[in-house]
Amino acid sequence: MDKAEERSLEQLLVSAIEGDERAYFAFLEAVAKLVRTWLRRKVTHGSLDVEDVVQETLLAIHLKRHTWRSTEPVRPWIFAIANHKLIDAFRRHGRLPLADSPALEAVEAAEPEVLQGWEIDRALQVLTPGQRSVVTAVSIEGSSIQETARDLGMNETAVRVALHRGLSAIARRFGRT
């Protein structure tokens, strides 16, 4: 990524913080790509699912976006968060990122790959039914806030509150369920 791309990423985040939904969407997509590429270089073996860490990083960036100082470059900030979440994930998986000795690799290879589904789907289970239906409607069904409000018979403010609380709860429970 060159300087111009970094500038445009910062521009997107500035607009996003001012409430521009479209800019925020584009920003998060770019971040997901950036972090995914970076993680694939870092996580070369083991049972850690890179996409889990991408999602946890996105959640953390979302809830902590006010900690970016607009006078500072955005990429070190993004990668500091991603790294924090990666270390967290490694810790949960019972090993540190640098422990890639051959012996350990052999043990890992012997472990059967268990398909447990994504962390986020487990975190989703801890939401209240109301939060869960709002989060599912907006994410998986791709409904707008207005459509969700109409479909669920709620007012828009309640939908926004449920969405925000639901996402915060997911971030809290991520990987701990």
Partner: protein, 212 residues
């Protein structure tokens, strides 16, 4: 849930994300100083001759030391409170207060006869210092940890410890106005001990409460 589905949900959540870090720190600092002032004036208050003492170099130096410590700790705390913050750049200023203290100790050793060194070091108020600096700093520490939590510190224990150091600097600044012991020999022994109690508390609290 696919990642692009999560992104849809995140982008739709346009509720304000919270005050910018700089703003949060200003607020926390003001609250911390006010709380320290309240506890100080209720429990201790300045010593009767504080006004007159302002013309003595030893009394004034106490504030120089505590304020230098607080300012450096504040810089470091702010840098530690956000991901990617350049906390290494804030480290050199942490040396200012210890160096000031060391210089003042050397000057004091040169200025007073050896026979009175120990008397001045022990002073009269060491237990008050060790009790009240932590007491004055406890509520400020709580507020500063809240500011840290509002941020996103990557090094939780260090962020907590530096919050404790800052709370200690603030508390010691108030306490210095009460304490009758002005010798740098007293300050160099008891103030760091008292501040270390808050630093340890902060580190412990940070370790458990600053995860995100």
């Amino acid at each position: 849930m696919e990642t692009n589905e999560l992104i849809k949900a995140l982008a739709a959540d346009t509720r304000r994300s919270g005050a910018p870090l700089g703003q949060a720190w200003v607020l926390a600092l003001v609250a911390a100083v006010l709380l320290a002032a309240c506890v100080f004036f209720v429990l201790l208050g300045p010593r009767p001759d504080a006004g007159a003492a302002l013309s003595t170099v030893r009394f004034v130096f106490k504030f120089l030391f505590t304020i230098a410590l607080a300012v450096a700790a504040l810089r470091l705390a702010i840098a530690l409170s956000g991901p990617g913050g350049n906390w290494r750049a804030a480290l050199p200023s942490m040396l200012v207060a210890p160096v000031l203290l060391l210089l003042s100790v050397l000057l004091e050793l040169a200025a007073v006869p050896q026979a009175s060194w120990l008397v001045r070091l022990v002073g009269t108020n060491s237990m008050v210092c060790l009790t009240f600096v932590p007491l004055i700093g406890l509520l400020p520490l709580g507020v500063l940890l809240l500011a840290m939590r509002h941020g996103a510190p990557v090094h939780a224990t260090a962020a907590g410890a530096v919050s404790g150091l800052l709370a200690g600097g603030i508390a010691a600044t108030f306490y210095a106005a009460h304490c009758p012991d002005d010798s740098p020999l007293f300050v160099a022994v008891w103030y760091p001990l008292a501040i270390a109690i808050l630093t340890g508390l902060g580190a412990l609290a940070g370790r458990f409460s600053l995860r995100w």
